[in-house]
Symmetry: C2
Subunit: 68 residues, 2 copies
């Protein structure tokens, strides 16, 4: 299990939190995901044997946000 | 039919637009509703025999925004 903190631009409200947490949380291999809205950060724990960071970034960007 | 423009605080993204337009648009008597995000405004046309402005404000506030 690894823990990563991503910086994400464009998350501005509770709906955005739900979109990001919902889409990342559905990925197989994700143990936990939490958006810290006022820091523009996404904290995610995942099993590196099942999932890689590129896929996590991809689903966040698919929701319309920029991972920086 | 009357046209009103409300100033609403807290709308910050496309999800907010959908929430406000969706909830107001479902009200019986509303002819059209449009959020202008960068102005923080909601333009609504409605039949004043079916609906009053207080009810429109109420559903916007129920979504978590402040009508000023």
């Amino acid at each position: 299990m690894v823990q990563e903190t991503l910086t994400v631009k464009g998350m501005s409200c509770g709906h955005c939190v739900s979109s990001v947490e919902g889409s990342v949380g559905e990925l197989s291999g994700v143990e936990s995901v939490k958006v810290v809205l006022d820091k523009g950060q996404v904290e995610v724990s995942y099993n590196e044997n099942e999932l890689n960071l590129g896929k996590i970034k991809e689903v966040i960007e698919d929701q319309g946000y920029d991972v920086v």
